[in-house]
Amino acid sequence: MKFGKRIKEQIQESLPEWRDKFLRYKELKNLISSPAPAESIFVGLLNAEIDKFNAFFVEQEEDFIIHHKELQYRIQRLVEKCGHNDEMFREEISEMRKDIVNFHGEMVLLVNYSNINYTGLAKILKKYDKRTGGGLRSPFIQKVLHQPFFKTDLVSRLVREWETTMDAVFPVTVAEAEGYERCAAVTSAAAGVGIFRNTVAALLTMKEMRRGSSTYSAFSLPPLNISDSDLVLRSVHLSSPIPIP
């Protein structure tokens, strides 16, 4: 029940176009709960879900690749234009920064998308085996590991590239470092929107999901340790009543 709730929350927090692309965990669970779940139907549904993931993931990836290039060009032009004159182009730089951070965020969310769907599949398969006493899970999950949507290496690579670029092109100034404290309140306002909110929700979900469960086994993930980021997360008030557009 925990995962079902969590994935539902994730979906609610996610970007609008993504919302129907996630695993239909609840429906599958209902199927399993029925008196005699037919394997063929179950497998058929899973395969359809996987196709959905693959299609969405690959398309998003393509968009990211295009945008990645465009951003690179943009930065190049901006750097050329600015020279060392950061002051003059403050607004443009700020704009650029925002776009980079948001782009980075979207890519991370795609990786999250992949992961949460994989996790959901693993869980639902486990439930299925439990219900039917079958051995569907293991071979099926092996297949899933080779699916396009699971292979997130390229997107992860781009994510890391942009982290490096951000540090290189937009280094923190002393003034900024001092401004951190004042930022907390600001951040809680910013947190209510789009990507950021989604990201925080994803982190909290992950932490929650990996707390020990009654069915903890050799196949379970160890608990998540993100105590460092708790400091970060605490400055974000997710419960703030800012509606998702």
């Binding site: 239909r24 429906e27 029925s34 008196p35 005699a36 779940p37 037919a38 394997e39 063929s40 497998v43 058929g44 899973l46 395969n47 879900e49 196709d51 299609a55 690959v58 990836e61 393509e62 968009d63 990211f64 690749i65 295009i66 945008h67 465009e70 925002k98 951070v101 782009f103 980075h104 979207e106 991370v108 999250n112 996790t119 079958g134 293991s138 099926f140 092996q142 590991l145 292979k151 290496d153 992860s156 982290e163 003034a175 900024e176 004042r182 930022c183 309140a185 306002a189 929107v193 789009g194 950021f196 982190l203 992950m206 050799a218 196949f219 993930l221 340790n225 970060v232 974000v236 557009p245």
Partner: protein
């Protein structure tokens, strides 16, 4: 795996069967069935005994009353084989990103009521003519002056191509047992782009005078990549044009950027306009994103590890079973030995789990040391 095969063959109106090629790794059929029309000529694809058959006898009918008696046919002809992982020798790091993906194409000869869900997900194959020569990178169809006489040769221009070719050839091998007049509408293949391929694309477009003037056909010709179809180029060009000429919309979501800018507007409306604070908000956003990504990568590698270990354990158990069977069938009973082996396996299990936990905490440690 000796697990019962989940695929079923049903003799319904079409003498073909269910095919779930995505899962066909554990179905006895690893090949893909072509178009539904050809199914009549195909032997049943599964060795599952009849009593496991399907829909007609499915008790779910009573409960959901959404399932009628007519089986669905899922035909995803090349989906399986355009997803390459272990089958294809990887020649460069881009291999996994360069596969040609096939869109699901499903024939719904008889619609089941509850399949409205599935209907949304499934696109009906338009039934265009099979075009194996194109799929196999037959140069004659695209590039008269091709540098690639056979699919096995590397193409000078793009590293990617070699893998695509290899991948497509492999798929042909796997399908050689069947009627290879595949149903897949080539237009339905999904291409997995890479930054390198995209760069070549941009180069080609620029050579042709820019994204407005370049035509898909011309770009395709310039790219000289057998794995690429005009459909791929066309849709990619469309995306490219959109990305370049609508900078005011968000890159992927297509939402007008005003929405994204709301965070900045919010801040401004709160009278905290200093750019430092805006920057800090962004920095914080970035940090959280980085953290999530970090954790995702760790989680992913753990999940992979778990499955790998699970497989290993299964193997060991099966081996152990075999030993036991042999022992019990032979007249000499050596219970001591059996127990010993069992203990080994159990220790193995503990060790592996221990390793997993160790590596997990090691990963966490690494993270914290950042």
């Amino acid at each position: 795996m000796n697990n019962p095969v989940p695929c079923q063959s049903v003799s319904g109106g079409n003498s073909g069967g269910y095919l779930f090629p995505s899962s066909s790794g554990y179905c006895n059929v690893s090949a893909v069935l072509p178009h539904g029309r050809n199914l009549q000529n195909q032997p049943p694809v599964s060795t599952v005994p009849r009593d496991r058959l399907a829909m007609q006898d499915c008790p779910l009918i009573a409960q959901s009353s959404l399932i009628n008696h007519h089986p669905q046919e899922f035909i995803d002809p090349l989906h399986e084989f355009f997803d390459f992982s272990d089958h294809v020798p990887v020649q460069n790091l881009q291999a996994e990103s360069s596969g040609v993906r096939v869109d699901s194409s499903v024939e719904l000869h008889k619609k089941s009521e509850w399949q409205d869900w599935a209907d949304q997900l499934i696109s009906v194959d338009d039934g265009s003519e099979p075009n194996w020569s194109e799929l196999l990178g037959d140069s004659s169809s695209h590039n008269p002056n091709s540098e690639i006489p056979t699919p096995f040769l590397d193409v000078p221009r793009l590293d990617i191509t070699a893998n695509q070719q290899q991948q497509m050839v492999s798929s042909e091998d796997q399908l050689s047992g069947r009627n290879s007049s595949s149903s897949v509408a080539t237009s339905k293949q999904r291409m997995r782009w890479t930054p390198e391929l995209h760069e070549a694309f941009v180069e080609a477009v620029n050579q042709l005078g820019g994204s407005e003037r370049a035509t898909p056909k011309a770009v395709l010709k310039l790219l000289n990549n057998p794995g690429l179809t005009i459909y791929h180029v066309k849709s990619h060009l469309q995306k490219y044009r959109t990305a370049r000429y609508k900078p005011e919309t968000s890159e992927v979501t297509g939402e007008p950027q005003e929405k994204k800018m709301t965070s900045i507007e919010d801040i401004k409306s709160l009278d905290m306009k200093t750019s430092v604070e805006i920057t800090q908000a962004l920095r914080l956003q970035m940090e959280v994103q980085k953290r999530l990504h970090e954790q995702l990568e760790i989680q992913r590698s753990l999940q992979l590890q778990i499955e790998k270990q699970g497989r290993y354990l299964q193997m060991m158990f099966e081996k152990q079973q075999k030993i036991q069977d042999n022992k019990s069938s032979s007249s000499e009973a050596s219970p001591k030995q059996c127990n010993g082996s069992f203990a080994e396996v159990e220790v193995g299990l503990e060790t592996l789990t221990g390793d997993q936990n160790e590596s997990a905490s090691a990963s966490r440690k690494r993270v914290r040391e950042d």
